[in-house]
Symmetry: D3
Subunit: 197 residues, 6 copies
């Protein structure tokens, strides 16, 4: 696989940490990794990278699953769309690759993955989703300027206060992961590149 | 208390969510809040705000404690210093108030809290801490430009790869909380203002 | 085809111009379009968009071919790499799609197309190409700051003055086309999306 | 005193200038400094720094007093609020410390000092003051974009042309002093830190 | 002439290319240069710089003339006004000097040349021209944000779709030439400086 | 005169203030205005604009003359050069026109006036002056980042601490006047435009 992508660095990250073999992980984590294998066909590199410390790994998994998979007024696709727009604004390679694939898969529209990576303003979107992405983008590039007027636009687009919490929470989360992945030069699994084109 | 700070909005946040009385929380959370009362003298507003959903609250507490309180090559003060510098770059009112107080308390130097809020470059700091803050600041304002040269500066200042993970993780975390707190206009507890001056 | 990409606007551009059928074009242009059909399998939308005015179309073709296809110290792939990095900095949807495909095709490395669209700094590249892309990026985002020090870096990376002309010319050209395509909302041919993944 | 604030550099400024003892100053300046001692309890460091040249010192005092203390449609507190918002945008340590204290003292609201230092948009303010601070902030960060529309907003908020002069003059003045203080690394008197909390 | 302008570098550009004497140029180009001599009194340096390669030179001339001199809903002065505003935003010395002179000549108003170089927002202009320049400026500094709302402002100011093409094309063209001229440090002919003051 | 410059607004400023006839001014100011008439051939509009309030006018004159005309390690031309570079960065029309003329007059090099207005980096300057302008520019656009490394560059270029004070003071002053002039839309005297070309 790696032969096909010579321009992508081969490391998991730029840091030399003591990552244990999966067989040495505690049972709950070993189990979780097996579920990933089954569902995705591979273990996302971010989980491998975190596996040097089970407490950190569990905290990350806990927050990730709660945000991206739990009940919400936002669909899973909408949460992935926010992930890509935020990651594009921050130009995080890992997250654009991984969540761009998720957008292609969940939407069945490969162009949507590219549009959100390249410039979400060029996409033909329902007003609700455009408002959601405008808010997430603004939180990312001008966090100090977000205020009542921005929340009012979300409400006008049909979002309730509980939804605003979720938009804000997802957009904030990827502002964390984007910076973290770039700061340690974490590389995405090569499986994402060709999937769902 | 609120009479003393008329310019600070009185709400917990701009969102109208159904926050239960503490007596209705599940036992582990009720216990956790009591520990906060004892240690700090009050319950941080961020925890009150999250308490409408126990799963989200536990995920947040889990990640926060792991990052800020667990074993690390960075002292607790150093982690709080990163928190303030990142929060200042993002101009998050809640986090500058709360973590500015933590810096004052842990350092015993009120000027350090103000320096990190106002312009960390003006502070007289050991080279190690200046390098750490330069990295955290750059991750915050130019996340797409962070690369090998930046990690090399941390290594030259004496940080190992495990420390770089922690610097990156703490700086990233506050890039999340800053955006979240501002996006929902979360207000800090008034107790922070006068403490440790 | 269009059914597969519902998020991409269906128009050629946002402007309503009187574009003639290809059969009405003058012979040299009709011939040129036929060559495109043969080589690419389709007519690039930018040429269709320009075809309302044969003089403008010929001027565009003339400059494009001279820059991208003529003899040069830069390979065709290198020129396409510059195109993508500049288009990414300017977030031009049309050019990132079209020239991202060209990079995938010419390099045989799909990840290179994604890396240059997402953040060229994350790519593993020969020093020569990194220097070339750094110069092109800087010309794009800080044109007023380019000076002797930047040209010296190109020379140190092995480029001669004739090469510097070409790097500057290609980077400049896409600063033109990026702005033009976005200003009129020109859409790329759907054929690019799945090609060479 | 200095022992309490180890992170604040101890110099008056980074420049080594020949500052005379107060006893050698000309009588009018010696008198002026005595008035400062009485009113404030100390001599502001900016005056000490300027005292190497009596002509410069008098010019500075003349302009400062005229702007901040003379009759105006703006209250003294409002002028200090502008000072802090401008100094925060420019991240001047000296001016944020000194004028943040003035805001705390004149308003009796310590949170107002922190809000204006940290992010004035989070403060609960009368519309008039918000308009005034928006104008001062915009003049600071986008001076080339200020125009009729901005002045119209001030007029709509109740300000007359004479008031607009004063808002513009005070905001401009701190754009001068902020840059000057940072350029020479001038340090504020330690007395400001704990006052009026 | 050069003695009068000691602060302007004397080279044609920073690149050492093999520029042939005019007598060695092919007849069509020699003829074109003679027309320049007659009309302007001198040969613009950009043409001299390009003359090392006749194909590049012809492509440049072809596009330039088509854009700036052909029939258009924009007057020649309006196209030059766009050139200066774009060149000012990009701070290109060559283009501001050369096209600033063109604005002075075509308008008969030397202040207009200076206003567009210094800050076009300060100029007293018909609404149509202000809308045109706002669009050109925005395309230059925020190309990724241009969208339907911007095109709607042009239409409201009286421009048709064919005019929007021309505004976009001229503004885009100078985003190319500005970057190219600065990247190779091309110097303008000294004759421009004093003309039409 | 005004007929020649139709694009320059005719007002003194956008504010309607009660400016007295010169004959009603107090004797010292009337005298000062007469000296201006003699030396320059006209009264600078900034002085006319300030003349509605003699205290403000005297404070402005006092600071201006002290900075620009008093003894200094910087020549008068050097101080005017700083004025133009700062005013260009802030895009202040009034100050670029007025101090651009001063640079042309004092240097005898009209191109220097244009270079500093358009992009000072393109000018051929002694290293000392380039260092001086780099510092003034950086203070203007990134005031929060100026530090020891910047002051060290000035010292390396031959400036003493007293000179650094003056560079900082002049650059700061024009950051004040630029913002003030633009905020009230003050217009320069038309006499500047054609002078010393």
């Amino acid at each position: 696989m790696t032969k096909r992508y010579p321009s992508q660095p081969r490391h998991l990250s730029a840091l030399d940490l003591d990552i244990p073999p999966r067989s040495k992980l505690e049972p709950d984590l070993r189990k979780y990794f097996e579920v990933c294998d089954e569902r995705l066909g591979f273990l996302p590199n971010v989980l491998a990278a975190y596996s040097f410390d089970p407490v950190k790994l569990r905290a990350f998994i806990g927050m990730y699953n709660e945000l991206m998979l739990a009940e919400s007024g936002l669909s899973k696709l909408e949460r992935e769309m926010i992930a890509v727009v935020v990651s594009s604004a921050n130009r995080c390679y890992y997250c654009q690759v991984a969540h761009g694939q998720a957008v292609r898969e969940l939407s069945g529209d490969p162009a949507l993955g590219e549009l959100l990576v390249m410039n979400y303003r060029a996409a033909k979107l329902p007003k609700r989703q455009r408002a959601m992405l405008d808010f997430a983008h603004r939180m990312t590039v001008s966090p100090d300027e977000v205020g009542d007027a921005d929340r009012a636009k979300l409400r006008k687009a049909g979002f309730g206060d509980r939804d605003i919490w979720d938009i804000a929470a997802v957009a904030s989360f990827f502002n964390m992961t984007n910076r973290f992945a770039t700061a340690i030069d974490m590389m995405p699994n090569p499986e994402y590149h060709a999937a769902d084109r």
